[in-house]
Symmetry: C2
DNA sequence: GGATATATTCAACCCCGCTTAACTAATCAA
DNA sequence: TTGATTAGTTAAGCGGGGTTGAATATATCC
C-alpha cells in the first residue's frame, strides 16, 4: 500500500474518533452553557475570525440577516458580546466578544482538548516529541491555507 | 518549557483549528442533508457504538425516551435506520443503520477529513510518515480509553 | 394468575430559532 | 437634493424538537 494511502486511512480513523468525542463534548458544552449551536458558532467566529458586522455573521451561518440580528441580540443580553456602532459607517455595527464571552469560549476549547491531553500521559518522551512535531506541522499547514 | 507543557499547547492549538474547520463542515453537512444535530448524533451513535435500543439513544442524547422515540421515527421514515423487534425481549426495538444511512455517515466522515488530507499534500514523505506514526499512536490510545 | 416493572409510543402542549415583510437610518450617486 | 442601495432591527407566524403524562404491550416476580 502506498504511504499516501496509509496516511489517508490514518487521518480518516483519527478524524472519526476525534469528531465522535468532540461532538459529545460539544453537546455537553451546549447543555451546560444553555447556548445553541448557532450562538456558539457566532462566538467562535468572533473569537477566531476577528470582529465583524451582523451581515457577515449571517452569511457565515447561512441564515438571513434577521436571524443573525436576533442571535446577536440574545448574546448581547447574555453579556457575551458587545455591539457598538461602527464610527466609519454608522449603519453598521461592530461586534466583539466581551471578557465573559472570551473566557467562556476558552473554557470550551480547553474542555474539548482535555481528553486528548489525557491520551498522551502514558506515552514516552520520544513519542510525545513526535506528536508535537506532527501536530505542529499540521497546524502550520492549516494556517497557511487561509480559511 | 517542559515538553509536556509544549505538548499541551500544541494540542490546544491543533484542537482549536480542527474544531473550527470541522464545525463549519459539520454545519454544512447538516444543511446539505437537512438533518439536525440530534439526528446526526443518533446515526453516528449507531455507526460507531453498534446497534442499540431507543432508551439508550435517549440516554446518550440526554433527552427523554419520548423524544428519542420521535427522533428515531423521523429517521426511520427517511429510510436511514431500521427499527425491528428485538427477538430476545419483545418490548424492545433494535435499531440499525440502513445501507442508505451508512453511506450517508461515511460521506460525512469523508467530507470532514478531506481538508486535512489536503494539508498533507505538500509534505515530504518523511514528514508524512511522522504524521502517520503520531496519529496512529493517538488513535490507539483513544481506543484504549473505552468511551 | 395477578401485581409490578420495563420498553416504547401517542397526544397535547411549549419554546426556540428561522423566515418573510415592513420599517428606520445612513450612505451613495446622479 | 432626491432616489436607490445598504445595514440592521422589529413583528408575526411557522415548524422542529423538546417535555410531561397516559396508553400499550411485554417481562418478571411472588
Amino acid at each position: 500500500m502506498s504511504p499516501t494511502k496509509v496516511l489517508t486511512e490514518v487521518i480518516r480513523e483519527w478524524s472519526e474518533i476525534f469528531m465522535h468525542r468532540s461532538g459529545r463534548d460539544f453537546k455537553r458544552f451546549m447543555d451546560e452553557t444553555s447556548l445553541s449551536f448557532s450562538q456558539l458558532s457566532v462566538l467562535m467566529r468572533l473569537k477566531h475570525g476577528g470582529n465583524s458586522g451582523v451581515s457577515e455573521i449571517g452569511d457565515q451561518l447561512g441564515v438571513t440577516n434577521a436571524a443573525a440580528s436576533q442571535a446577536v441580540d440574545r448574546l448581547v443580553h447574555l453579556g457575551l458580546i458587545e455591539r457598538t456602532e461602527d464610527p466609519e459607517d454608522r449603519r453598521a455595527k461592530r461586534l466583539a466578544l466581551t471578557q465573559k464571552g472570551n473566557t467562556l469560549i476558552e473554557k470550551g476549547v480547553e474542555a474539548r482538548s482535555k481528553w486528548i491531553e489525557g491520551l498522551t500521559d502514558a506515552l514516552t518522551l520520544e513519542q510525545q516529541n513526535m506528536i508535537i512535531s506532527a501536530l505542529t506541522l499540521l497546524t502550520e499547514a492549516a494556517r497557511k491555507t487561509k480559511e
